[in-house]
């Protein structure tokens, strides 16, 4: 990412360019004054962003090339790419690849499920029926609950001895004896996925609903007049028209899922079966005090997300300047 490009000099260059253009157009000094105060308005925001985002990011990338440790941060040696491609580097570390695989698997499965359920909830909320506002209020509840709280609530419900989930499943007869959902390697990741689906399907549903409500109504009327089956209308008309809105929601969620930390840290304490890239990086940084190695892992995660974001912005043709509207 071009984090440092926020430096004011390029903006000043932009200012003189823009004001020269404006002078030609209207000949007033008003637009010059506007551009000048715009710069003034922007400077504090940019300074804060450089301080809290730009500088720490650069330091993290730099630490990735060193052997820094947490308890002696000022005293380190430059070791080049050793943290990445060395004998003990990330690319040769099975634990790192395990975390990468977990993160990718989690992101793919949870975002797919959230899209599927989000679409269903959005279609329900888009229908006209008594009690619709009640459903909308109900689906907002999981979204409003802090991630840590939902992790703890589900940890309690999934408890191997006293959990309500095991009780329900045993009453219905799906499982014969209690399952240790969050400790069992076969189910731990599914437990994380389920809590994430519960928590973020509302977000997905609201974004898809916003897309649904912007669809033109005339093609539905035409389809109705022609007597086309509603299921066919859904797959041939609604879904194709809805695709852009779904794509935006999917990418937003995917970028969020790739950096998952809280839920896994609390629900499964970052066990090997569920550890994500973020949890791995923090574990190296804080628990093992390996700032150099952990920073290298953070940088790789950052690069992954940065490339996906850039891809999204190009593919999605996001209207950045607002010129289109």
């Amino acid at each position: 990412m071009t984090q440092i490009d926020t430096d004011p000099s390029s903006l000043l260059a932009g200012r003189s360019g823009a004001s020269a253009k404006n002078r030609k157009a209207s000949g007033t000094s008003l637009s010059t004054a506007r551009v000048r105060s715009a710069i003034l308005f922007l400077v504090p925001m940019i300074l804060v962003l450089v301080l809290v985002a730009g500088w720490p990011l650069l330091r993290t990338i730099w630490f990735g090339f060193t052997d820094a440790e947490l308890n002696r941060l000022g005293d380190y040696n430059f070791i080049g790419l050793e943290n990445y491609i060395g004998e003990w580097g990330l690319l040769a570390d099975p634990n790192w690849w395990n975390a990468v695989w977990n993160t990718v698997w989690f992101s793919f499965v949870s975002v797919s499920l959230e899209t599927f359920f989000g679409l269903i909830v959005a279609l329900v909320l888009n229908a006209n029926f008594p009690g619709r506002s009640l459903v909308r209020a109900a689906v907002l509840i999981p979204w409003a609950i802090p991630t840590i709280v939902s992790a703890q609530m589900w940890a309690w419900m999934l408890h191997d001895q006293f959990g309500v989930i095991n009780d329900m499943l045993m009453t219905v007869g799906i499982v014969a004896e209690p399952v240790a959902w969050t400790a069992n390697p076969d189910t731990a990741m599914w437990a994380v996925v389920m809590v994430d689906v519960w928590k973020t399907t509302p977000f997905m549903a609201l974004l898809i609903l916003a897309g649904l409500q912007m669809l033109p109504t005339d093609c539905y009327e035409a389809a109705k007049v022609d007597g086309i089956h509603p299921v066919r209308v859904f797959f041939k008309v609604t879904l194709p028209l809805l695709k852009p809105a779904i794509m935006v929601a999917v990418i937003f969620r995917a970028l969020d899922a790739l950096r998952i930390f809280d839920l896994i840290y609390v629900l499964t304490s970052g066990s090997r079966d569920t550890i994500s890239m973020s949890v791995f990086a923090r574990q190296e940084l804080v628990d093992f005090q390996q700032v150099g190695y952990g920073s290298a892992a953070s940088t790789l995660l950052f690069l992954t997300i940065a490339f996906l974001t850039i891809g999204y912005i190009y593919l999605g043709k996001v209207d950045l300047s607002g010129d289109k509207s």
């Binding site: 551009v35 308005f41 925001m45 809290v52 985002a53 269903i120 509840i141 089956h229 950052f302």
Partner: protein, 278 residues
């Protein structure tokens, strides 16, 4: 085409509605239920309220500095939201209504920062906080949280700012107003709904933040609510005090749910402004 009786369809639809509501509401309902049970009752699964015992709520406040944790969370979230809104409104005016070269790049950078994985700035932020001397203190958390709320605030307010009528601004300038007056006296009154929405979303983000609060604090007294809830320990190391955890969870979630239900329309519009309109 098989003809499905209308009644069957209706029943199926309402069954789906009931499943959605139950699935959304049950975990929080069950947390409330558990938080009101203590002793052996807690470990007997029941689906309807059987006990109304506030012992867990008392214990949360007496066994650890939970009141202090709540105060910490409120202070951090309020200061972060106030700073973000102040910096965000003026920046949004510049980004949304004034044309200058480099604007698209700047917006792109801001959007990029809001996609940042928090862990990517963790070691650099740790060093910065230690260097300033605000490790294990609220100013440290306020500084770190700005990376979560500021880009998002600027982004959403910019989309709102773009849609305000041009004529208002022009009329103010004809009357001799400066850009500062235009932002504070002309646009601010119109921006209130947007500010409330953005402020609320930023507040929720800061209130829920976990990774920074976990890493940049050391003592129980400096922890925010999410960290306190994640790290609650009981009498023995291997026995988690589930009653206390559920009581603490209900205490911090109830105000959020009330806020969200009151402002639900605004929140929906704010969320979609951040993403769909993008």
């Amino acid at each position: 085409m098989p003809v499905v009786p209308k009644l069957v369809k209706q029943i199926a639809f309402y069954a789906l509605v009931v499943v959605i509501i139950l699935f959304s509401v049950f975990p929080f309902y069950y947390a409330i239920l558990s938080s009101l049970e203590s002793g052996a009752a807690l470990f007997n699964v029941n689906y309807l309220p059987e006990e109304f015992n506030i012992a867990n709520y008392v214990a949360v406040f007496s066994e650890q500095p939970f009141a202090r944790n709540i105060a910490n969370s409120v202070i951090v979230a309020v200061v972060v939201v106030a700073l973000s809104l102040f910096l965000g409104v003026t920046a949004a005016y510049a980004l949304g209504r004034v044309k200058f070269r480099g604007r698209a790049l700047l917006l792109l950078t801001i959007l990029g920062v809001s996609m940042f994985p928090q862990v990517a700035v963790l070691s650099g932020m740790f060093e910065l906080i230690r260097f300033i001397g605000i490790y294990n203190s609220l100013p440290g958390l306020i500084l770190a949280n700005m990376i979560l709320t500021l880009p998002f605030t600027v982004w959403v307010l910019t989309t709102f700012m773009r849609e305000l009528p041009k004529e208002l601004e022009e009329a103010a300038y004809v009357d001799g107003a400066t850009p500062w007056i235009v932002v504070t006296k002309v646009f601010m009154p119109l921006m209130w709904p947007a500010l409330v929405t953005t402020g609320l979303l930023a507040f929720i983000a800061a209130w829920n933040e976990f990774l920074f609060a976990l890493t940049f604090t050391l003592t129980n007294e400096m922890r925010t609510v999410p960290v306190a809830i994640a790290l609650i320990t009981g009498a023995s190391q291997f026995e988690l005090p589930w009653g206390n955890i559920m009581a603490a969870s209900v205490i911090v979630t109830l105000p959020l749910i009330v806020l969200v239900l009151i402002f639900q329309r605004k929140i929906v519009s704010g969320l979609t402004a951040g993403a769909v309109k993008g």
